[in-house]
Symmetry: C3
Subunit: 267 residues, 3 copies
């Protein structure tokens, strides 16, 4: 569990099986998350019409719901898709983008949590705190807290909804009930690229599509994010070249890259 060979095994399965990952996500990141899914070897699809989400869920191996640019018809489609995904036993990943910034986002994320509990919630520390304490303290969509400030909230949320909670930060935290694992891979440039958190959620969906343990899938996805980030940073003078090299690194990622860089620390 959490060994380099386990991470690599998931990457190989994604590349071989090209699982369809159905995303209902925000306008800002649709292009970059689709490209990240293609780069790692998965097959992305974006579909948000209530008229078709159930049909699309039927073809998919994972559903990723991201509330980054909400509106009423999208919320209805998210709930419909999530309900269909649960009926089919499909893993759902919820990214509560901006929870805490507005009541609309906090309430929508909480509604999804209650009505169609996801396998994995992946957010930054401010968002995870907002979901657990249901207080408004987020500033926009960037985190005001280090991941460790969300230890109690992530732990509590994981137990309350029986889901994995994955908190991104300089060191990522992944809780599954009382179990905790930390992923120390990554680079300070990553928060300077819009939507890399959303990309982490999309990749978490791809890993959950091939690994039956959401706990492992969440940790492996964050490790691959961080490793590709480290590889990208080595050749990038700024955030836009970083974004490009990051996607190229996902595409080129080798077993040796994982073996030499992986820093997963079971707590």
């Amino acid at each position: 569990m959490f060994k380099p060979e386990d991470v690599w095994n998931d990457v190989q399965r994604i590349r071989k099986e090209a699982p369809l990952v159905h995303n209902i996500t925000n306008y800002v990141v649709m292009n970059t998350t689709a490209n990240a899914l293609l780069a790692i070897g998965a097959s992305p699809v974006m579909a948000h019409a209530a008229e078709e989400v159930e049909d699309m869920v039927r073809l998919a191996k994972a559903l990723v719901i991201n509330i980054g640019t909400l509106s009423a018809p999208w919320i209805a489609a998210m709930l419909k898709a999530a309900s269909a995904a649960r009926q089919r036993g499909l893993p759902i990943v919820l990214d509560p983008v901006g929870a805490g910034a507005t009541r609309y986002r906090t309430e929508t994320a909480c509604q999804i949590l209650k009505e169609t509990p996801p396998a994995i919630v992946r957010g930054n520390a401010s968002e995870i705190r907002a979901l657990f304490y249901t207080e408004s303290e987020t500033k926009g969509v960037d985190s005001r807290h280090a991941a460790d400030a969300a230890v109690e909230a992530a732990h509590g949320l994981s137990k309350k909804y029986a889901c994995v909670v994955s908190v991104s930060g300089a060191v990522d935290l992944i809780f599954s009930g009382d179990r905790l694992v930390r992923v120390a891979n990554g680079h300070p440039m990553m928060p300077r690229v819009t939507g890399l958190g959303c990309t982490a959620s999309a990749l978490t969906g791809a890993f959950a599509a091939v690994n039956p343990s959401p706990y492992e899938a969440a940790a492996h996805a964050m490790a691959v994010m961080g490793i590709a980030g480290e590889m990208a940073a080595e050749q990038s003078p700024g955030p836009a070249s970083f974004q490009m090299h990051f996607l190229d690194a996902l595409y080129r990622l080798s077993e040796e890259d994982i073996r030499s860089r992986l820093r997963i620390e079971p707590a």
Copy 2:
């Protein structure tokens, strides 16, 4: 016909006239297709409100309809714009993204085909098969078939709707009734970049804006796509650098590039 000088002639006209190409397309690719149109020399505009599509069609030289992220108000606008375009004799390009994956997409594409037949349908083999056989066999938005698996469907569709059918694949097929031409340019990295099929449709619109023959326009556009793809692949370690070099190649494309690389094969 289909000679390097014919392709180059179209490119020069696009660069000189900068035709306005009106796109009603999906959220995932709006940025990259707008950039591809600018790179080749056309002038892109995105407008999807029923309140303004007829006004925009009035200024445009081609209309590109792409159903990649459908919803009801967008379908209404597509039909309204297509109807206005037909009244004005404007070439319409239809990209049936994900036809076959959901009934909603298949039915919408078929409705557009019937009510406002486009000059050119451009899709992958799975989509073209879905439109002709109206069966659901697509997996998401990626093709499960090589272009040649769509020979019968493309041929039939072209005759049924009296339109050009352009099927992308390792070798592209372009049918105009009983006429067939194959374009062998391209690179295996292309399906690893999200929305390059959508870019092909947008460029097809630009070529149709300057070339009165939809058959030639469709083939020339696919040739330019493939040539720029080959040029990009030579300097790209992964799909994100490929996307960047691809757009740069469209911008820099010379007569010599076309002359030395063009691989159009009349059947």
Copy 3:
């Protein structure tokens, strides 16, 4: 005023304070404008639901409204957000993308001008002319005019609505009533990248968030756009590599870059 140290002072404040810039903008540019705001040091958020725009305005330091891909629910949210922003004394930047191309765009921009006058209007010459003369003469979203063709319109618009008017072109014009300043920085590649005008508006929002003078903020933002554009052009063979280097340049911009390149010319 308009000295290199004034421009640099604003950049430093943005980097230090990371002001939240609330964007209600078009689908084409959401990703690139969010990345530009992050690159310069601001904190971007996109939110367009009527249910949450007032909450988001409460957290923001500037509001940027861009009408590039309009529809009715978005217009309602724009007016609601702008009204809340005015009540809170927040600077509003309006980008009237495509005004003049369709009545819908011209009328929407004029409605926002009248009901919730922005601090700054930033557009190309064709758009500014359309707002002042309320005539339809724009072709799509690209300018048909050099900035100087909008001198009278920009001057008139600035006086009529008591707002700063910033007109982009080879030489940018910024009017504040009877005061005029010209910014000569920039590069011919810039109009070949989709949405760089929208990026200029977003950065104008970031500068307005830290500089209480909309006149200075508008000019400083255009100077930084132009300087980053010059830096990017020096290493870019085409528009896609230009876009990447442009964002990297915003991130790396130094006092020396501004000092050596700034070309602001008070009229």
